[in-house]
């Protein structure tokens, strides 16, 4: 009897947005392996045309509910770049604080609610509430802390309010920053507990390695999420963020409404593991120790280890946030008002979203109205790499039970923590 395998996962669950997995094989011979992205496109780059400079952030924040701070910051930095605005060190520090809140919120949501069910063999976090109540409470406490932290700095948990070109519409008081520091310190043991939990189930993560190009922002002094230029494991040196189109080289393919990307090879990867592979030498002590506990080292090319890199970054974000708060409190919060004089120009903003490097470019006319836009999204940059991972991994596992193959491929997609609604809002634009 011939051994036919036909796996078709329509709308992979426990990921943000809609993706499909298709595998067809007969007698160990693979006929088709596809990662498909059927998400409804939303055309943000077209929609922002004609909108004023101060309306760009409120619009593009809506590209993604899970990384709205990252989109907001990329947009704001691009507006500032276009209009020649520089911001204070205080603004930089506060923005990075808001950005760290989102990294922790997003990573803990991914690990605790979306990945943990795979590690513990259940369909969702809901049964874990009765089978592993303490673990679920740990995740909830981390997630809640990150959300309250984001609300304190950015005015709201999702779709930030107070982040604007030039600075902040509302500044947190020093007293509130002191309380924030206490709550971040209080969440450190919870992060340890989460590490213990993941460590206890880490053998459930498949061992699969494929030599991969990793791309992330790099900065000489810090494990960066916010400043820096574009680095790659395939090159020495960096590329200026203003030339990001030469990095992503986006193209349209028939199996996806999201664009795909390639740089030095057929595909590359962005995200926590990419940042780790480029910047791990700059991790703070607690984060570095966590990487050691999991045996995670620079050069790792097992995509499932992106989950572990996210865990390391949760600790990095919390550790560095405490440093930032101390710096802010040592100088005191200065009352500052954002000042912007609209002018014509073009600007680029780039940050590391939880899922990888994010680029926004906008051009404005002399009234400060947007003429054109280009948003290059982390998940777009990962789609081709997911496909290449599938092509390499499926032959290794095709003899296994069909359900197991399906689960391993779903886990692979989830490891990238794709943000598919983001990735279909993307576009390409010509500048005149």
């Amino acid at each position: 009897m011939s051994d036919r395998k036909h796996i078709e996962v329509h709308h992979v669950t426990r990921v943000e947005g809609h993706g499909n997995i298709v595998v067809r094989a007969g007698d160990g011979r693979i006929e088709e392996v596809q990662w498909q992205v059927p998400e409804a496109p939303r055309f943000f780059e077209a929609m922002v045309r004609g909108r004023r400079w101060d309306e760009i952030q409120p619009i593009v924040s809506r590209i993604c509910g899970i990384c709205s701070v990252a989109h907001s910051l990329a947009a704001i930095k691009a507006v500032e770049d276009a209009m020649g605005i520089s911001v204070s060190e205080q603004t930089d520090r506060l923005r990075l604080l808001a950005h760290y809140a989102e990294q922790l919120e997003s990573h803990s949501l991914h690990l605790g609610y979306l990945v943990a069910p795979d590690l513990l063999g259940v369909p969702s976090v809901i049964p874990l509430a009765s089978s592993h109540p303490e673990a679920v409470r740990t995740v909830i406490r981390i997630h809640r802390t990150a959300n309250e932290w984001m609300e304190l700095i950015a005015g709201r948990m999702t779709h930030p309010v107070s982040l604007v070109p030039g600075g902040f519409t509302l500044l947190p008081s020093e007293d509130r920053l002191r309380r924030l520091k206490q709550s971040i310190q209080a969440v450190m043991p919870e992060l340890e507990a989460l590490s213990d939990l993941v460590l206890s189930a880490v053998d459930k993560l498949p061992v699969f390695e494929r030599d991969t190009e990793y791309v992330a922002l790099v900065d000489p002094d810090v494990y960066t999420f916010y400043h820096g230029q574009v680095g790659s494991t395939d090159i020495e040196g960096t590329v200026d963020i203003h030339h990001f189109e030469d990095v992503a080289n986006e193209y349209v393919c028939d199996q996806s409404t999201a664009k795909w990307a390639r740089w030095h090879r057929e595909s590359y990867a962005v995200g926590a593991l990419a940042r780790f592979n480029l910047n791990a030498q700059l991790l703070l002590p607690g984060a570095a120790e966590t990487a050691r506990r999991f045996g995670l080292k620079k050069g790792c090319c097992n995509p499932y280890m992106n989950n572990i890199a996210q865990l390391v970054e949760c600790i990095q974000a919390a550790e560095h946030a405490i440093v930032l708060i101390d710096e802010l409190l040592s100088t005191g919060i200065e009352p500052e008002k954002p000042v912007v004089e609209a002018r014509a120009g073009m600007g680029v903003g780039s940050v590391e979203a939880p899922r990888g490097v994010l680029f926004h470019r906008y051009a404005f006319d002399e009234d400060g109205c947007c003429v054109s836009a280009n948003n290059t999204i982390p998940t777009n940059q990962n789609h081709a790499n997911i496909q290449k991972d599938f092509e390499a991994f499926v032959p290794q596992i095709i003899d296994r039970d069909q359900e197991e193959v399906r689960l391993l491929l779903e886990m692979l997609v989830r490891a990238y923590d794709p943000c598919i609604s983001c990735s279909t809002h993307h576009l390409d634009v010509r500048f005149v």
């Binding site: 998400e39 055309f43 077209a46 909108r51 993604c64």
Partner: protein, 248 residues
């Protein structure tokens, strides 16, 4: 106890409103303990087409999505529209201000004509099917969502505010943004958000839709008092206001 089956679905959106449901944290565990969650793709691998309450996030942008929504409506006794994309079309409706071919060309360039990139004018859910309840906002206020769900579960009529954001903003004691030269849509926007944006120093951009029976005369007076025009106000209504009528 009868635990009603609940399913959560999403169409074109950022999925930030589902995130607000997760952000209920411990309270979500309580809510889930009195319902039977049968499908929630973003959070669970379970799937079902049997449910009493459907919670639907996102806008309708393709004919195939219309069919899917019509099916969800058929399978459910109560349908709740979750968030601005579902209740008023949200930020997605900005697309309707442009020609569809132009939008595709702008985003996908030479590949624009490929069939899988097709798109239609954006619709809110109630432009396709009957919607029983709306949780407004971008994102939703998850406390409002939890209150609505609790009310429905015990057979009470949920409370939906019929007054503008200014009421909640004043209750919070915020300074009025018009005093700072801003144009804010608080006077004409439906409350329920707890005035999050003006409380954070940012003008209200009307994500919850316009309040029924908006006091247009008073709004006009406010504009006049601060040396602004109705055209200024309208320019602010574009983010979430596409295809909406103000009903004085």
């Amino acid at each position: 106890m009868n635990r009603p089956a609940i399913a959560i679905f999403d169409f074109a959106c950022c999925e930030g409103c589902q995130l607000q449901i997760l952000n209920l944290e411990e309270e979500l565990l309580d809510l889930i303990s009195v319902v039977n969650p049968v499908e929630w793709r973003e959070a669970s691998s379970d799937k079902s087409d049997q449910y009493q309450i459907a919670i639907v996030e996102g806008s309708i942008t393709r004919p195939a999505d219309e069919e899917r929504l019509i099916n969800i409506r058929k399978n459910s006794q109560t349908l709740i529209a979750l968030g601005a994309c579902a209740t008023i079309g949200g930020i997605n409706k900005l697309k309707n201000r442009f020609d569809s071919a132009d939008v595709r060309q702008t985003v996908y360039g030479e590949a624009a004509d490929r069939p899988h990139l097709d798109t239609a004018p954006v619709k809110a859910l109630d432009e396709v099917v009957k919607v029983d309840w709306k949780v407004h906002g971008c994102p939703i206020n998850n406390r409002e969502f939890a209150r609505m769900l609790r009310a429905l579960l015990i057979g009470k009529r949920p409370f939906v505010p019929t007054y503008p954001v200014c009421v909640e903003c004043k209750l919070k004691g915020n300074p009025c943004l018009y005093d700072y030269g801003e144009i804010c849509l608080g006077p004409i926007t439906r409350a329920g958000c707890e005035a999050k944006c003006p409380s954070g120093g940012f003008w209200c951009y009307g994500c919850r839709g316009y309040v029924e029976d908006a006091n247009i005369d008073a709004a006009r007076e406010v504009m006049h008092q601060y040396g602004k025009t109705v055209a200024d106000l309208k320019s602010r209504m574009s983010l979430f206001g596409t295809d909406q009528e103000l009903t004085p």
